[in-house]
């Protein structure tokens, strides 16, 4: 709470205190990094790289209201760079996802933990993962997610729609296989 107050005060003065910045954002950034990499060490490296970039280039950011999305964009850049991704992902139509909207009972999700959720996300098409992670982790609007991932708004919506549909299907499959395993042991 103290960190938030200090950060807001600094924003009012047009200054960013590094310690407050870390305290406010390292948690959400780490969760986003984990959803992309699935390993603690890689996620920590990404967050470190992000704050290191801030330490060297952060002064170039003119609009302090955009610090948070700047950090997320920088982290995502670092991730893509580390994966040497040079190809663009295709643009997708939401209409295609219509046939893939299985109904999932919420009870099935309650048996999962955070690690299960990450494991399931890792099985979703890679091109949808970052958008889905931001959708669940943060309260960003679709426009803001589009800004962070630097892709068109329509593409963000299509990726989230397809990603959610795949995630639901995976939850169902996991529940079915868990049910079979139970039957086997009974």
């Amino acid at each position: 709470m103290a960190a938030r107050a200090s950060y807001n005060d600094d924003r009012g003065r047009g200054e960013v205190d590094f310690q407050s910045l870390v305290e406010l954002h390292y948690g959400p950034l780490y969760r986003f990094a984990m959803s992309l990499t699935r390993t603690e060490s890689d996620a920590c490296d990404l967050v470190q790289q992000t704050f290191l970039t801030w330490a060297t280039k952060g002064h170039q950011l003119r609009d302090l209201a955009k610090v948070k999305s700047w950090l997320f964009t920088t982290l995502h850049h670092s991730f893509l760079e580390s994966r040497r991704r040079s190809t663009r992902f295709p643009h997708l139509a939401i209409a295609e996802a219509e046939a893939e909207l299985p109904a999932v009972e919420p009870d099935l999700v309650s048996h999962l933990d955070a690690q299960d959720a990450l494991q399931l996300l890792s099985q979703v098409d890679e091109q949808f993962q970052a958008a889905v992670a931001l959708f669940y982790l943060e309260d960003y609007s679709y426009n803001e997610i589009a800004g962070i991932l630097e892709i068109p708004l329509g593409t963000v919506k299509a990726r989230i729609a397809r990603g959610l549909a795949q995630l639901k299907e995976l939850v169902l499959r996991k529940a079915a296989s868990a049910g079979k395993a139970k039957e086997g042991t009974a």
Binding site: V16, F18, Y26, Q48, H91, A93, A95
Partner: protein, 247 residues
């Protein structure tokens, strides 16, 4: 909007988010209130989302991370933006305002660039290169035609045999000098897009001929032609058999 379309919209619903007030979302929510089956699906979906969101937010952050991050603290850690205009001396503000007025007068008084096809073609290609926005995401050409017709953009366009075989991804309504332009987006199948721009031929003084003309514009290959009342620009990545494949 039918039930399947409403599901596709509601899939992206997030309570409290700004997107919840979008017109398609409002319509889908209303439909969910009226249609018991859709309503049940939506309730289940919301509960799924809530539970899933909670799981993602339970990811634990390592205790050592914060300490190691704080060691990165730069020596000069503060950013001080330039003073706002109202804090600058009055004479400087007045000088800037005068210069701005002079600049604007120059823009207003200069003769307008003619409505040349090349200007239109260049603008459309730059639209495709920038972060364009599709108004409609669909693989149904009828929906795009209906959408464009309802917004006064060309909807009576003809597709070449090559384009008929490509996967449609959506479309958008653009304008060029207040003339409506239809943008149709195709997926070439290798993570590259092709864009077809259609505008009334009367919008330019020098529409291209009926035979497609190839030209490289801003690192894109374009084919331009006129047919009936419409003028067409097809833009895509450069490739050897562009004409054979798409025209």
């Amino acid at each position: 909007m039918n039930s399947a379309e409403a599901k596709a919209v509601l899939l992206l619903y997030r309570p409290g988010a700004a997107d919840a007030a979008d017109p398609p979302m409002t319509e889908a929510l209303e439909l969910a209130r009226q249609d018991p089956e859709l309503g049940r699906w939506f309730e289940e979906h919301r509960a799924f989302q809530k539970a899933m969101r909670a799981k993602f937010r339970q990811i634990e952050v390592p205790a050592h991370l914060k300490t190691s991050l704080l060691t990165l603290q730069p020596a000069a850690q503060t950013f001080i933006p330039p003073p706002a205009w109202w804090r600058r001396p009055v004479w400087l503000t007045a000088a800037v305002a005068a210069l701005l007025l002079l600049g604007l007068a120059g823009v207003w008084l200069q003769p307008r660039a003619p409505d040349r096809f090349a200007n239109y073609q260049s603008r459309m290609v730059s639209e495709a290169q920038r972060e364009y926005r599709m108004d409609l995401l669909t693989n149904d050409m009828r929906q795009i035609r209906q959408f464009m017709a309802s917004r006064g953009a060309p909807a009576d366009y003809d597709l070449t045999p090559g384009l008929e075989h490509l996967r449609l991804t959506g479309g958008g309504r653009l304008t060029w000098r207040s003339h409506p332009v239809t943008m149709v987006c195709f997926d070439r199948g290798d993570q590259q897009m092709l864009f077809l721009f259609v505008m009334k031929r009367s919008a330019v003084k020098d529409p291209p001929p009926e035979t497609p003309q190839l030209a490289k514009v801003r690192q894109r290959l374009t084919a331009s032609w006129t047919h009936g009342d419409n003028t067409y620009v097809l833009a895509g990545p450069e490739e050897a058999d562009f004409v054979k494949k798409y025209l």
